[in-house]
Symmetry: C2
Subunit: 430 residues, 2 copies
């Protein structure tokens, strides 16, 4: 099995290095001979002496995807445009693909997986989501006989680190972000992490694997952590919750919804214990019941572990000359649902409302009656001192639809609760 | 693919029933036609009307394992003697095996896996350990490129339920066991659960998968929860620990050790949050770093989920007419280490000592000096009121060898610390 690697950044260099240093271990798992024959990188000098004997260093990625001797292309250059063109060409050339590029797959997955199924090749991507958690394989294989009903994840380590610092050490958002950058948990440009988009890429893929729906990034609505305030973290804690950036996909009736947003997580759940830059995923299904998986979400060496495990999977599949395995997205292409998504206002959830109000008699009663008139069942309510002459009224509801939330809003905005801001977060069930 | 099922108890009937009720889902994952053609059970009447159309109910298990039309035998009768004979015969007849029988594999796994490798068939057993946690597949496949360094698990739901009830609700051992039996978490005869043997069966298999050592039940020393006292649960809590029944296997240098014993688990670890009848497993390795997996450890339907996932794995492997996949125990037979175990007294761990002493001047000093003379580095020490005129001295150590513990003992037994009992538990690192 001859392998070509695209890119020689953090993940790619770790992959090549660990392929060499764990060579004996890998050979103890499979008889298939694996050989990295080409590495493509713009900065060839960086790769000099860092690749296996006999491996050619080239600067042209096309020389890898068009090389007729190569069986497997490991794409680690990142980005969505050139990466797509290279991966599509490699598949057209009947090469198997291993990638850790969640953005590529979230945006172009449908085209990629369709062509791969047509050409009879595998596209493996365990390294694309929550690298130290084997969630791709778990969804495709371990729960293959179960109907998954929900998947709730903390999938962005940068955001989780920021919220943990704010919650545990009283840091401000800006301080926490600066610390994340200093520790290497956040990029110089952290936009995709803190605005929820990275988590949205990942939940797009997991939703597709869990429910057999198309890979459709536009089906996710996402919101990040940039507007989270300390007061809500504290109020959540008082109610027995942690505020986390939650990526979730749920089956409601026969329809699916997918979202990324800050949400209240009950302390009794394992997700509440996912702190710092770690990732965690809670999964439920009809047969296995519930499971929770936890591990690092990023890191060059950790991602290399997932990429090399995919490589061993491929090698084993090639033994005997036939590539086998479940379909690339778990479900057969003919079984993928075509109109699977629930209307946004029909989504059921519990909700947290915080309304900053003038601290005067009658406001609490007025706000309560708005919820009552809208037929929203309130779970807890309390009023707290806010800043200056203001107070915070905090309400958690029982399960209601997003549509009901939207119906409460005009009345709240016309009431004493308006003017100083209304904050709303979903709250997960116990 | 034609399937025969041995047994029709709790797990087998759930497996057959869910095979039927999730038929459409399973068909959406694979094109391979699967058919349960025979179920063998002594109480044929129970299975009447509960099996798929065209499935024959027989009372003779040999009629399944010797049936030349059957490709896969699902063994769910339990026990180690008849089950071994049936499984060995089925393998000799070139049938693939799926089993959830941890006792069978812990005791006879070497013979079974050796014959299976020789005959070129698969023995799959995801249902044998922590059923809702995909730990078998994770070890064989997801971390295949990583050198595993430790696996620490809560693998027996009955014991964990008992310790949780004692810790959270102040129940006595007997009360907690009675509650476990009432809730169906414990068998009428709970011996194998509470004496640590069931967890030992499971860690035997996981150690072999993690480190490529033989399946050798005799290499595990195990101790259960029957002697755990409330006073140690309380003292552990005061020190920031939970007392849990811990099954662990560690790589120390190039050697492996495997044990089951009550141990102190730091509150900061995910394992400390595994309560009630749930299972959890913390895994570390050179590339992926650390991961933690959590889920149900038992239950008919949950086990059926694992058994049916193994079946889908087999079906996919059979596509194209060649069975592939990693070796049955992850490592190739030629790579399995032959003398892999560390001497018991060389094992390194932190330890918790509780000594019940006469409450008089000088005892604490005497005990401290014994530890100092034995060169055992003490981490924390405190004295607490015991029963009547007695006091409890509680010491936790830094990492020491089991041999050093054994050296401290004669001096302690000759001191004021003797006579009222000395309790020792290992303590996991933060």
């Amino acid at each position: 099995m001859k392998i070509g690697v695209l890119g020689f950044g953090n993940v790619a260099s770790a992959t090549v290095q660990k392929f060499m240093s764990n060579r004996d271990l890998i050979a103890s798992k499979t008889d298939v001979q694996m050989q990295i024959v080409k590495v493509a990188t713009r900065t060839a000098a960086r790769a000099e002496g860092q690749v296996p004997e006999g491996c050619e260093i080239v600067t042209d990625c096309w020389a890898v995807v068009d090389d007729p001797t190569i069986d497997v292309v490991i794409e680690l250059i990142g980005g969505t445009d050139i990466a797509r063109d290279l991966v599509m060409r490699a598949i057209a050339n009947k090469k198997h693909i291993i990638t850790a590029n969640k953005a590529l797959l979230a945006h172009h997955g449908e085209a990629i997986f369709e062509l791969a199924d047509q050409m009879g090749v595998c596209v493996l991507f365990e390294g694309a989501v929550a690298v130290s958690i084997p969630i791709i394989k778990t969804l495709k294989e371990s729960v293959a006989a179960s109907r998954v009903t929900s998947l709730i994840g903390i999938l962005n380590g940068t955001s989780n680190y920021i919220l943990s610092q704010m919650s545990q050490h009283g840091a401000s958002f800006d301080e926490a972000l600066a610390q994340a950058q200093q520790k290497g948990y956040a990029e110089a440009d952290p936009t995709l992490d803190v605005n929820g988009e990275d988590a949205a890429h990942k939940i797009t893929l997991l939703s597709s694997l869990a429910f057999g729906v198309p890979v459709d990034f536009s089906a996710v609505d996402f919101k990040g952590v940039t507007e989270v305030e300390a007061v809500d973290i504290a109020a959540a804690a008082r109610l027995g919750y942690q505020l986390k950036l939650i990526a979730q996909t749920q089956l409601q009736g026969d329809e699916v919804w997918v979202s990324v947003a800050p949400a209240l997580v009950p302390n009794a759940s394992m997700l509440a214990h996912v702190n710092g830059s770690m990732n965690g995923i809670a999964l439920t299904g009809d047969l296995f019941g519930s499971a929770f998986l936890y591990g690092s979400g990023a890191g060059g060496v950790q991602t290399a572990s997932a990429v090399l495990a995919d490589l061993i999977d491929l090698a084993q599949g090639s033994r005997g000359g036939c590539y086998v395995g479940l379909p690339n997205m778990g479900f057969k292409r003919s079984a993928i649902k075509t109109r699977p998504y629930l209307a946004a206002d029909a989504r059921q959830s519990r909700f947290y409302f915080r309304m900053r109000v003038e601290d005067k008699v009658g406001v609490l009663a007025e706000v309560s009656s708005i919820f009552a008139r809208a037929n929203v069942s309130v779970s807890t309510i309390f009023q707290d001192e806010g800043e200056g002459d203001l107070a915070d009224i905090i309400i958690t509801t029982h399960g209601i639809s997003t549509g009901q939330v939207q119906k409460v809003m005009p009345a709240l905005q016309a009431s004493a609760a308006s003017g100083h801001g209304i904050v709303i977060y979903p709250a997960l069930d116990e």
